[in-house]
């Protein structure tokens, strides 16, 4: 493949074990990332959007090998040295020590700047640390002893100030400090900030320090995990502008993770919407905002408040809350909350159980008191009757027919109703998860509507 994909991810799954029982064995898995495939091209910003708990942070960490993938592969293609042809590296299978060496190329900025800096380290040491860890070198002019700025480092470069030849030196002592100062000034801080502790700075300044720390080792790829969510609007503007400038100057590629659609719109070239561990829509920025296809993406966009009091909308409310990633809904993961769900979107026992419970609690419900206990089992629901089994079963069946006639997708999806062992068993059509399909060039969606 000779495209300029810097990262290629195939079927990535990151599951966290839930340990339980006496022997602390895994009794369940939190399916944080459940089968995600994408590619990031050099120089672009890929925005990953989703609500909390959808797994977007985990993707960022997986790319850095801060968490290990259970299944799937990550291919990383570093920039070829001296114009040579780059070879992809199987990042997911690399042993730990080699991963550490790569850490100088791939970096991450975390959400909360207050906790990402060691509170007992001076700023100077915090920023210098990556240089020390990776034993970075720099080009220094042999004549005037000045360092070549980091974004203009090229083999054989000449000193900008005096035109003299440069040599490669290990960054130590005064050189180290000079490089730290150079970068701090680039992000808008002063040299006297070197000798302060993190807690003496504001949120925006701390985030700048974190950015400096990541940049000082010349990475080519940066994961930005909600970098401005903890900051105020005005500071956010400063940081986002800074990030954009740095991307141009240093030739960086970004993975921008956020739950704030407006911010992602400003920063990203392509957008991927994530829900419960899967990408449900991937598109170019313009295409996405002009015409979001997936109902969840539409709902997300409509829920974002517009800062314009004249365009107050009737906030179109998505019902319910995000389900737990331990046992995600079967079929299309969004179907329980989807306003336009179809019968074959993957209705299952749990959905019917919830609907029946609500219905039986309503005033004057025909099935009130008919249900003793319900047990959902994948695509089936077993109902144990209360009172007279014949009468209750009939009431339930009538109810199901009635709702089906009313056109509710959940009830239209019922495949069979049978009486087994004194219980009423309702079975649904088995449905698969919709695949991410390209509907228009560059615009893919995972939804049965298309």
């Amino acid at each position: 493949m000779t495209d300029d994909a810097i990262f290629r991810v195939e079927n990535l799954k990151v599951h966290f074990p839930i340990l339980g029982g006496v022997l602390r064995r895994p009794i369940g898995w939190v399916q944080a990332v459940d089968g995600v495939s994408f590619a990031i091209h050099r120089g672009e910003t890929l925005g990953v959007v989703g609500e909390s708990g959808c797994g977007k942070t985990t993707i960022g960490r997986a790319l850095l090998r801060l968490v290990d993938a259970r299944v799937g592969s990550i291919w990383y293609t570093p920039r070829g040295k001296d114009g040579g042809s780059p070879t992809p590296i199987a990042l997911s299978k690399l042993p730990r020590r080699q991963v550490r060496a790569l850490r100088s190329k791939i970096q991450i900025i975390f959400q909360d700047p207050s906790s990402s800096l060691d509170p007992r380290m001076l700023v100077k040491n915090a920023v210098a640390e990556p240089i020390r860890i990776h034993k970075m070198t720099a080009l220094r002019c042999t004549r005037c002893e000045r360092l070549v700025p980091i974004h203009r480092e090229r083999p054989g470069a000449t000193c900008e100030a005096c035109g003299g030849p440069t040599e490669s030196v290990r960054l130590k002592g005064a050189d180290l400090e000079a490089r730290v100062v150079e970068l701090l000034q680039r992000v808008g801080l002063n040299p006297e900030h070197l000798f302060r502790f993190p807690h003496e700075f504001s949120g925006g300044q701390k985030q700048r320090i974190a950015i400096t720390r990541a940049l000082v080792i010349k990475p080519e790829f940066l994961v930005l995990d909600e970098p401005t969510s903890a900051l105020d609007v005005s500071v956010q503007a400063q940081i986002l502008n800074l990030l954009k400038d740095l991307q141009k100057e240093y030739g960086l590629t970004y993975l921008f993770i956020s739950h704030h659609l407006a911010v992602v719109r400003h920063m990203a070239d392509r957008i991927a919407v994530m829900y419960l561990g899967k990408f449900i829509e991937v598109a170019g920025k313009a295409a996405f905002f002009a015409n979001p296809l997936h109902p969840y993406a539409k709902g997300l966009l409509e829920a974002v408040p517009i800062p314009d009091p004249e365009r107050r909308r009737e906030l179109h409310l998505m019902t319910g809350e995000v389900p737990s990633p331990i046992e995600p809904p079967l079929g299309c993961r969004f179907h329980p909350r989807c306003p336009v769900a179809l019968p074959h979107c993957g209705w299952e026992g749990r959905d019917l159980a919830r609907a029946l419970e609500e219905a039986s609690q309503a005033e004057g419900s025909p099935i009130a008191g008919a249900i003793e206990e319900m047990d959902s089992d994948g695509f089936a629901l077993r109902i144990r009757m209360k009172g007279d089994p014949e009468a209750s079963a009939r009431a339930l069946e009538a109810f199901l027919e009635g709702e089906k006639a009313r056109g509710r997708a959940l009830f239209q999806a019922v495949a069979s109703v049978a009486s087994e062992e004194g219980e009423l068993v309702v079975r649904f059509l088995k449905a698969l998860e919709p695949e991410l399909k390209e509907v228009e060039p560059g615009h893919a969606v995972a939804c049965y509507l298309y």
Partner: protein, 473 residues
Amino acid sequence: MVDRVLIVGGLKVNFYTYAGVVKALDGIDIDLRPNETHGLVGETGCGKSVTVHSLIKLIPMPPGKIEGGRALLHAPVTCRTCRGKGCPECGGSGTLDTCEACGGATKCVKCRGFGRYKDGKSCRTCGASGLCASCGGSGSRYLDLLALSAKQMREIRGGSISMILQEPMSALNPVLTVAEQVGEAFYYHQRAALVHGTLAALDRALKDIETSRKSRWRRPILRWYRFLYRRMERDPESRLLQSLRRVPVVRRYHRWLAREMRAQSLDALNMVRIPSPEKVLDSYPHELSGGMMQRVVISIALASHPRVLIADEPTTALDVTIQSQILRLMADLKGQLGTAIIFITHDLAVIAQVCDRVSVMYAGTIAESAPTLPIFREPLHPYTRGLVRAIPGPHEDVQRLPEIAGSVPNLVTPPSGCRFHPRCPFAKAVCKEEKPLLLEARPSHRVACHMYGPYAEQWTDADRLLPQEVVTR
């Protein structure tokens, strides 16, 4: 209908710390109208939380100290002669609503409405305005929140003024069930209604016994309970009854009240649209999701039908879809209960969607205060302008977000004069010397900026108004 529910004037709060005196609030003026949602916007550290916390005296008093100002809450009392039923004394409304100080005359008592004394000095009580300081010149009955005793303030908190905070997880006690916590709110603030309901339930039970002639042995017990509750009706705070709760066996009388509390709690949960409220009542907070917890917190806050609800960043910690649900809920409930809301946030987009009026705060001062539309269409104060332009909207593309240069000042050594002058692109010499007052530049639109005050000639009209290009969204 009274003009203002809450009047805050000239509120000054200092914090005496090791690092120096933090002049957190430097003369805050807020007017809260009945049933309005008033947004309080500003960056971190500008003093929004300090403002509302000082109103109900929740700031730590060493090192904090309320240096001056007034905070008046409209507080009509039930007419004692008729007990709220209506009589000639109170004019049939059941409530007394005349200012105690001026008797409804709206004139300042000290200077008799002239604004100055006989010797020419301006009256300090009313600030030379001539209006009664205790009612802000409205003539209605107001309560000075800053002058209340600890006991009175405890009744106000959660009663007339409720507050909901940012993190619903921390607001709820993790070892108590939802029923216990919501019930507690009713117990402390709606005791009369609870007792009333209990008595009704007891009467029903007694009538049942009469008609069905079953379990007649319970009659004397129920009569005893009814006696106790009638006692409680007359004296809700009765010490005797409260101490009876500690005596085993006798304390069973409380169960009837507890049942009523549960019924009211159920209603409260239904009001905030929580699904399966019965189950939720018996759950612990950690078993609920963030959105549900925030709804529970809202129901606790609204249990007492407060006049003012203070919402301190209630949706910042929630997902955007849940946020929209909660905002809609609050808007509906406000209409139902007739509560005025002070909505604190740093997210201007939320303000645009839910607020009627907005006050913009900067470094402990109010920069601008106006209805929502003018704030976005015609932001007068340079800081407001900067804020409005710095928001990325989800519906347009801008290459670079406009920034406000500089950063928030250190409040131990705040800038002299106008606190925004070091960052203001329009600052002139007078801005450094004199602090601008919050004056009305347009009808109902107040700004604290010299460009619109007595020194306005120093600027041209071009400086003042926002160019149209940013306005079209």
